[in-house]
């Protein structure tokens, strides 16, 4: 059996994805970037997909079977 890492990969990858999404939104709100729907919608879909994929591949969090 493969030993589980000392961290929760699902939380880690989800966190990185959410940070990137939050940074994009922050830059848009600060008028540094101009994110139109054609970029924003794929970015959001990719973020949600990335989070689901990370949590799915990582399995249940530590402490849960």
């Amino acid at each position: 059996m493969t030993p589980r890492p000392g961290y929760d990969p699902g939380s880690l990858v989800s966190g990185i994805v959410v940070i990137v999404l939050g940074a994009l939104l922050l830059l848009d709100q600060a008028d540094v970037l101009e994110l139109r729907a054609e970029y924003m919608l794929p970015a959001v879909i990719a973020a949600v997909g990335g989070v689901l994929l990370a949590c799915g591949l990582a399995g249940p969090p530590r402490g849960r079977s």
Binding site: Y7, S11, G15, G22, L25, A43
Partner: protein, 364 residues
């Protein structure tokens, strides 16, 4: 007869010292330690910390002070871990950002309401936890917690959308980023996947607002503007939410180009123009519809430009419309928009393409 027996001198208990708990710990064991010290349920302490966080960040500040100055009950435990430091750093940044951006939040009316909500949540969780309660009671408590969580989710979603549309997008984006930092920090402490839900609940409405450039700051309601002179058009008109009707039918437009900037966050813009006036349009609509006489165009991220050729010496009204979510319509009579592709026809008469085109050529 009573005989008094000499009592053995009891060894004096050492004074109980406040320590952070290493066995009952979610972040740093502060609430667990305080609860143990005061003989109070640590859950109540945790809810109190959360409520006080909405009082100018007092909860986080108090927690941090306890974390720094209250020792742990395990002398061999390391003083602080990197994951914890990251989580706390993100929390501090979030509090600092909120304190700067929303200075009036400290001790606002939300705190008493949160205190009541916190007490209800505490009682509900206790009901679920207690083994002695009836099965029906526990089921009822779980349903109530579900309703509370659903209300929080809907409220968070709507609040994030409204806050973003009202100019608070930076705060919402900061909270999303803070959730992400919390997720990364929590990954090294057993995982914090519960943060995914609030992060997406905040990010999705903000993304929708950002994608449509929705900004409902400004006047709300139904307004009709009837400028007396063409010179009044230079400043344009702006509304946050509602219906803007600009009636220009009585104006006598001079030869040459007259620009009219119009902006609305959410709602419809109706421009009434004199028949046979050459009208050109540059409309930017986040989501909705545009009808400038060439048929209605609808969708997301519309950028409708109608820069037809205008003959020299012809009076030309050039509309520059900026709509977050809604519709723009140009016509010479009153109309009502009933939804995508549906215009109520009581008196409606849109600008006829041919008429406007001929007018621009000076032939109408």
């Amino acid at each position: 007869m009573t005989d008094t027996q000499p009592t053995m001198p009891q060894p004096e208990e050492p004074p109980r010292r406040l320590t952070r708990s290493t066995t009952d710990s979610l972040i740093g064991g502060v609430a667990g330690g305080i609860g143990r010290h005061l003989n109070v349920d640590p859950l109540a302490i945790r809810i109190t910390f959360v409520i006080l966080t909405f009082a100018g960040g007092l909860g986080i500040i108090a927690y941090l002070l306890c974390l720094i100055f209250v020792p742990t009950d395990d002398p061999s435990a390391p003083p602080l871990k990197w994951g914890l430091a990251r989580t706390l750093g993100a929390g501090l940044l979030a509090v600092a950002a909120l304190a700067i951006l929303i200075p009036d939040w400290a001790w606002g009316p939300a705190v008493p309401l949160l205190a009541v909500a916190g007490a209800i949540v505490y009682l509900l969780i206790r009901m679920v936890r207690d083994d002695g309660g009836s099965h029906a009671g526990r089921v009822a408590a779980r349903i109530a917690i579900g309703i509370v969580l659903l209300a929080l989710a809907v409220g968070g979603f709507v609040g994030a959308a409204a806050g973003s549309a009202l100019g608070g997008g930076i705060v919402v984006a900061g909270l999303v980023t803070a959730c992400g930092v919390g997720l990364v920090g929590g990954a090294f402490r057993g995982g914090a996947r519960w943060l995914i839900a609030p992060a997406l609940l905040l990010a999705l409405p903000l993304a929708a607002v950002a994608a449509t450039d929705l900004d409902v700051r400004g006047t709300w309601g139904e307004r009709t503007f009837r400028p007396a002179t063409v010179a009044e058009l230079a400043g344009g008109y702006e509304m946050g939410l509602g219906s803007m009707r600009v009636d220009l039918r009585e104006l006598d437009f001079p030869a040459g180009r007259t620009e009219l900037p119009l902006e609305i966050g959410m709602g419809e813009i109706q421009v009434l123009v004199p028949r046979n006036l050459c009208v050109t349009t540059d409309a930017d609509v986040g989501a909705g519809a545009v009808n400038i006489g060439d048929g209605e165009q609808g969708g997301i991220d519309l950028d409708v430009t109608d820069e037809r050729r205008v003959a020299p010496g012809v009076a030309n009204l050039h509309l520059i419309a900026d709509v977050g979510v809604g519709a723009v319509h140009v016509g010479d009579r009153l109309f009502e928009w009933d939804g995508p592709g549906r215009w109520r026809d009581d008196g409606f008469d849109a600008m006829e393409t041919g008429t406007s085109r001929l007018a621009c050529l000076g032939a109408a």
